[in-house]
């Protein structure tokens, strides 16, 4: 789910950014903030940092000794994407493997759907092309690369080293699975 939250950070401006005949302070600060949010990428508590939307408050900057950089404590609004256990999401199938398939939903792009989490689906591989898919013959749908699925997140794991979430999905449940795609924009 996407949220707009308020975050406090300290933004550091290099002396070179504050030098020159024409100093555009707010643009320098904004550029630096965008950089900061890009570098943050994701955290366990807040989820993925998408973009800052508004700077709410900039406090008095402090010059740091030796380096001469100026540190500004600022408060800003930021859009984040945070996954929750039991949340229901729409996503696209990225890859099909023997044991299941990988889904992606926006920034959360490592969701594994194991074959036991799609009841009634069987694995098929086309021997000449190597293309593989899961088929549910009873309900008459196929899951292959590009299929849009509605699924529930049943487990989420935070991977500190890569600063990403990895998740497990399931389409076993009412109103989950293939959804009518004409609702979505292509």
């Amino acid at each position: 789910m996407f949220w707009e939250i308020t975050i406090k950070r300290t933004i550091v401006l290099q002396p070179s950014m504050l030098h020159g005949d024409f100093i555009n302070f707010s643009s320098a600060l904004l550029t630096q903030l965008l950089d900061e949010v890009t570098n943050l990428k994701c955290s366990e508590d807040h989820g993925y940092y998408v973009t800052p939307t508004a700077i709410e408050n900039v406090e008095q900057g402090k010059v740091r000794p030796i380096t001469g950089v100026v540190a500004f404590p600022i408060q800003f609004k930021c859009i984040v994407f945070k996954p929750y256990v039991k949340e229901i999401l729409d996503g696209e199938v990225k890859k099909v493997v023997r044991r299941g398939c990988f889904l992606s939903s926006g920034p959360l792009d490592e969701i594994f759907l194991h074959e036991t989490m799609m009841n009634g689906c069987h694995y098929y591989q086309n021997e000449s092309t190597g293309a593989c898919l899961f088929k549910n013959e009873q309900q008459g749908f196929e899951i292959k690369e590009g299929t849009i699925l509605r699924f529930q997140l049943i487990g989420i794991r935070w991977v500190e080293e890569q600063r990403v979430f990895k998740a497990l999905g399931s389409i076993n449940g009412d109103f989950l699975g293939c959804i009518n795609e004409f609702d979505c924009v292509q």
Binding site: M1, F2, W3, E4, I5, T6, S27, L30, T31, L34, D35, V37, T38, K41, C42, E44, D45, H46, Y48, Y49, V50, T51, T53, I79, F81, K82, Y84, V85, K86, E87, I88, D90, E92, S104, S105, G106, P107, D109, R150, L153, W158, G173, D174, F175, D183, C184, V185, Q186
Partner: protein, 147 residues
């Protein structure tokens, strides 16, 4: 084993959303699409725009563009209005806005916290009854039709 006890307890079905999110503003995909598209244009005005668009931003923009049920910014506003009329939690509003359930059963299946509260139809205290949910879904369908 449990590095973060708070994270362990988070559960969308029970509306346990984490300490920083209880008072935060939840956004529907359609709303995020409107904001990100405007933001994307703004970033293009900055010097060296290519390096300012993060991967997370790009993936999110692609995702919300594809999975937005309402395109027109005015329609998005109306949807928010319709959903806010009832005493729903922010999270519930956005799940319904994103997933667009057609029927009462579907709404209850996709938003379990809704099902729990609307059990007793006469109980007005929680502010949501089956009739109200159905009315809401009809209103949303109408907006979609005339968008």
């Amino acid at each position: 084993m449990a590095p973060n006890a708070a994270a362990e307890e988070e559960d969308a079905a029970e509306l346990k959303l984490g300490p920083d999110f209880e008072k935060a503003k939840c956004l529907m995909n359609s709303e995020v699409a409107v904001i990100l598209e405007r933001k994307y244009e703004q970033i293009q005005q900055l010097p060296d725009p290519a390096s300012q668009v993060s991967q997370v931003f790009e993936k999110s923009l692609q995702y919300v563009k594809r999975f937005s049920r309402y395109q027109n910014p005015n329609a998005v506003k109306q949807v928010r209005e319709v959903l806010s009329r009832n005493q729903l939690a922010e999270f519930e509003v956005c799940v319904i806005g994103n997933l667009c359930p057609d029927t009462l059963e579907e709404a209850k299946a996709l938003v379990p916290s809704l099902a729990k509260r609307s059990k007793s139809d006469d109980d007005e205290e929680d502010g949501i009854t089956d009739e109200k949910i159905e009315q809401m879904l009809q209103d949303l369908a109408t907006i979609k039709k005339f968008e």
